[in-house]
Amino acid sequence: MSIISLTIDGLDIEVQEGTTVLQAARKAGLSIPTICDHKDLSPYGACRMCVVEIEGVRGFPTSCTTPVTPGMQVTTQSEQLSTLRNCTLELMFSGHPNSCLKCPHRELCEEERPQATKAARTTRCGFCANRDECELREMALDSGLNELDLPTIYSAHKLERDDPFMDRDYNLCVLCGRCWRICEKIHGKPAINIIHRGKWARIGTAFDKSHLDSGCVFCGACVDICPTGTLTDRFARWQGKPDQSVATTCQLCPQGCSVQAQSKDGQLQAYTMPGFDKEDRLCLLGRFGAAQILSSSKRITRPLVREGDDLIPVDWDYAYQTISQGLLDANGTTVFLISETTSREERYLYARLASSVQGLLLSCTTEAGPDDPKIQELAASIEQGKVKAVVTNGFFISKEILNKTAFSLVIDCMESELLETAQAVLPAAVLCETQGSYRSADGTVKQLRQCSQAPGDARPEWQIVCSLAQSLGKEGFEFDVLDAVTRLVDNDAPPAALEKDPRENSREIVTRFRGHYVADIVPSLAAFDVPVTLANDAGDGRKKGFALLEKQEIVPNMHFLTIEAPQVARFAQPGQFAILMARETSERSPFTLVDWDKEQGTISLVIEEVGRSSRELASLRAGEHIAHVSGPLGLPMTIENTGTVFLGGGCYGIGAIYPLARAFKEAGNRVICAIEAASSYLLYRQDELAEVCDHLLVGTKDGSLGIHGGIAEIVSAISKQEQIDQCVIIGCTFMMRMVTKLTKSLNIPTQVALNPIMVDGTGMCGACRVSIDNQTQFACVDGPIFDGHSVDWDELALRRSAYRRQEVQALPQTVDLNALMHSHSGGCGCGRKND
């Protein structure tokens, strides 16, 4: 291939023939904006952001699809190009919700908004989970685009949750085509493509089948390459941008695929592909399962020692002491059952320990379990008293057989029935919580690097084995660093390769990790017919408690629930709230009452799905039960005839102002209701509100409907037209704060419904204390409605973030992510029904 010379923006450049103008420009260090282009994809020319001027060429060709020719004169920056690109961007944003750019309060909000996204965050315009990483937004900010003048035409798609592992919000899609192109590149025949034409064009599967039925193998490449928040990993969705990315190796099966581990605050978010080529692809267990395994609530987190019927948590020294005594007392052959997916160093140390105690090491394959012939043989030896003690680093043996040994030690990451009979249990750090090397089935030695923190007291097995050996008085285990062990490992055999490649077929993934059925840990795997043995945590409690009569996702992430709770319904008054616990293990979370029916004994609530508790509630289906509903709580709003009452609601507050509007109207007031949302398609219950007020006004942060802005803008507009005698504002802390600041200057008495962290809701704990006029008050019994001009907002905002970290940590735990899959129960409003 020959070298071609050309000039771009006056720079003389030499590149290989076949290079595109875009590539040439990048090589020269010039930046041309683009969204559909990706270094690992072939040129596509869809977004038209990368247009350039080429001397002698008519119009504005896209640089990503134009190959260089000798002597080409290219201009990448000009006024005309800027205008053109801005027009293109504007067109894109007229179909893509853009409050993240256009909201008049964006900068202020950024300051108020804590980094991690979670339930107690101060501002709540949370329709897109990808804000911190959105390439589209970044491009718009770089372009200096200030005005978005085109009208917005959003498609208002329902959030798609029919499939395991992924949430798809096509409201955010700009049709860059990266997803189906990467799918085609990796799998040959793409499972997805652009369906429909023109205005109705969108990404989808053939015949609108679910991804599961359309041949998708859930490699996750589309999620990782999507430049917007359209395609998201349901597990990591609200966790925010990863702060660490490490190249390591997946240990879930003998294949040992290279992965890029991504974590935030020491918690693994996902194993992603190290690149976007066919050989980089991962199986669904690696891509979506690894993080769920590490953050499973079934992890063992503390050393445990048996005392009678109980396993008692103890410190490490005590555990080692007890274990070495136990092994000595067993006085006979010890067998070590070690998973073949254990790191080379750890297998070496286990073997060394086994031989130093004249024991035996059995290597257990990925799919090995208690029924394995090798284990059956061992069981017989234990019965005959030939084997006195067992050390296992997985669930490879039944609890009954383990119980027949004189001593048994489990060194593992996950709880199993073995905990019922084991004499001692030590918590192990696994996968990317530890380091070392791994020999994959093809014989290659690959690096294991740390990217995640082990839970609780868990430690790497190499440390555990060394300490245990030392406590047994064995020599040759004095290793401070792992490298010293690595140097000793020699001639280790690679594990047996899997018969079929799990990356080719989603039904071929390994079903066990260290003997534990993976579907017991990663519930969504049930969708792939992987064996499940444990009853799901989520199952219990759904049959007891308060009946959930109706559940609708009225707008993405916002759920409307109607619950049978007569004792609340009969006494409910405007302004009060109820405390809900989806399950016995849930938090007590307060939600404002949106409506109630005294005769029917029902209450209705609006729940925004952000934190774990709200997710748990959202995962329930009509006909199931909510474990606990308690209320009505808080003092009701004082309803008097004051003249003109302005009620402003944002987010869940749109629902919350409804009963207030009705009561103020009944009391003879002129009632003006104002509602705000990031975008028009996120507004809800407008018809219901319109019925109980004299005037309904709408504000959107992107200007897609009504006034451009929020409640603050509406208040300031209305107050110029007529006198407002009373103002009541319900919404995120940030919005309430902003509006009260404004009404203070306008001299309008203003009340707000505060939403601090609460536990019991009956005055008992004091978590919800707020400063009103420098006096401490409890929002649950003295509020939640307070004079907005007397609130210490700084304190409130800071107190709300007190558990930020834990909330993010709790987010993925135990929530039955499988249940969050959209179920056509008839209550979802889509008209379809399952079965």
Binding site: S295, S297, R302, D310, I312, P313, V314, D315, Y318, Q567, V568, R570, F571, Q576, M581, T585, S586, E587, R588, R612, S613, E616, A627, H628, V629, S630, G631, P632, L633, V759, D760, T762, G763, M764, C765, G766, A767, R769, V770, S771, T776, F778, V781, D792, D794, E795, L798, R799, S801, A802, Y803, R805, Q806, E807, Q809, A810, Q813, T814
Partner: protein, 477 residues
């Protein structure tokens, strides 16, 4: 069950000989080990040790211990049953007086009640009444031994019990066994009150509380949880609904704060919140249970009562360096001696004669320490305790990222707020006749912390017992 005759035969039969048996120590979890777990600290007597300890009781004709007991348990009678190996019958004797023997055996301050009156204590050590009570209850629970219930024919009377804490449980137990219909209302999602939310697992396993609640249900008591009387029905409405009497045992559920600068900072908790998260909401099992635990590294607990000990020891178990700040000296601490001793053993630091004057915070309003004043003891105050006086210029800062305020509780306002006819004191406690526990409203009774302010489980039970007796006579009129 082992043959009991053998063990008995080992016991010297003459009273004189028996007295020589030393008080049997309670087996306890090693402090070094227990500070990392939430398992119960005292492990309980074995059958043999219980019988040996029971044999120490000389069965006084005029037993002082019974007078010392707020619910007047016939202590010699139940101890005799244990001494003779009839453990289930021993529980039967206890159940005649207390609804919660397994609880009282664990959390009562016996050293200042029954055991302080034991005649053996005059010259040596008193009989370990509390440990024996616990043994009898645990034995029956673990061996499914159910003592015969007292059966009474239904009276047709219906009582509403508001609040399922120690007082309410006592009242419910007493009244249901006298043939009345009892309906309990509990605001939280689990019945038990402070036994569930306040007292930690390592002092009172929650399974025991739920066992006792279940046995109430088995006796026919209806319990509505998630039911907030005062927000749903008021007391008046309960009476109108056909209840013949209403008992209010809603407790002291409104935490007091110091009223010092910085107290609303992030990282300052009431002991109620701290303990409720850990116990009722089971944050100690986070993330299996969704409620966030308080992740403390340096926890400072302010106060010197049992609740302060519970909070400090819980913080310790959750991995924090745990310090108690108390403005008087160790002698004045209202906590039980055993609790203070356990806390010391486990490594809780004590800053005594230290008075917090300000919470120090960083720019994010997060706690970084507690500014304290050194105190010295002055003249005795109205409580008879020597009043602490500040040493001038002695300010110093105890570093902390978590501050737990354990200085007491005020009565919960939910019921009094909505029942204006029921007279309350200026502190918000309900005024009740000491002999009947009847409030100013006929047919409405109250007992426990809602009447006495913040006191102990057993005193609430004692008052509950008085109230139950009075309700029974009121209904029998």
């Amino acid at each position: 069950m082992k043959s009991t005759n053998e063990s008995v035969s080992e016991v010297p039969q003459k009273a004189k000989g028996r007295v020589k048996i030393p008080r049997q120590p309670m087996p306890e979890q090693d402090p070094r080990r227990r500070r990392t777990n939430f398992e119960e600290v005292p492990r309980g007597y074995s059958e043999e040790v219980a019988m040996l300890e029971a044999s120490r009781c000389i069965q006084c004709k005029k037993p002082g211990c019974v007078q010392g007991c707020p619910v007047n348990i016939n202590i010699p009678a139940f101890i005799k049953e244990i001494a003779e190996g009839r453990f289930v019958q021993a529980l039967g004797k206890l159940k005649e007086y207390t609804a919660l023997p397994a609880v009282c055996g664990r959390v009562c301050p016996q050293e200042s009640q029954c055991e302080s009156r034991c005649i053996l204590g005059k010259k040596g050590e008193p009989v370990a009444i509390g440990r024996l009570e616990r043994f009898a209850a645990d034995y029956a629970r673990q061996n499914n031994g159910v003592p015969e219930n007292r059966h009474a024919s239904p009276t047709g009377k219906k009582i509403a019990v508001v609040g399922a804490g120690p007082a309410g449980i006592t009242v419910a137990g007493e009244l249901v066994s006298r043939g009345h219909e009892v309906v309990m209302y509990e605001a939280l999602h689990l019945a038990g009150g402070v036994l569930m939310y306040g007292i930690p697992q390592f002092r009172l396993p929650k399974e025991i509380v739920q066992y006792e609640i279940n046995s109430l249900k088995n006796q026919g008591v209806t319990i509505h949880t998630d039911y907030v009387i005062g927000k749903s029905e008021t007391v008046d409405q309960l009476l109108a609904m056909g209840f013949d009497a209403v008992f209010i045992g809603t407790g002291a559920g409104l935490p007091s704060f110091l009223g010092i600068e910085g107290e609303n900072a992030t990282g300052v908790f009431s002991a109620n919140e701290f303990l409720t998260r850990a116990n009722l909401m089971r944050a100690i099992d986070f993330p299996r249970f969704a409620t966030s635990p308080v992740q403390a590294h340096r926890a400072v607990t302010v106060g010197g009562g049992n609740v302060a000990m519970d909070a400090a020891r819980t913080a310790l178990r959750m991995g924090a360096e745990s310090t108690i700040v108390y403005r008087r000296s160790r002698e004045e601490m209202p906590a039980r001696g055993e609790e203070i001793h356990h806390a010391e053993e486990e490594g809780v630091n004590f800053h005594l004669l230290t008075n917090p004057v300000r919470i120090v915070t960083d720019e994010n309003n997060q706690v970084t320490g507690v500014e304290c004043l050194q105190m010295e003891l002055g003249e005795p105050d109205s409580s008879g305790r020597r009043r602490p006086v500040p040493v001038e210029g002695s300010e110093f800062i105890v570093p902390a990222d978590t501050v737990i305020i354990a200085i007491g509780n005020k009565p919960n306002p939910l019921v009094p707020q909505t029942s204006p006819e029921i007279q309350t004191s200026k502190w918000g406690t309900i005024l009740a006749n000491e002999e009947t526990m009847m409030t100013s409203k006929p047919g409405v009774f109250a007992a426990g912390d809602i009447v006495s302010g913040a006191a102990t489980v057993i005193s609430a039970m004692g008052q509950g017992k008085i109230a139950a007796g009075a309700i029974h006579s009121y209904l029998s009129k």
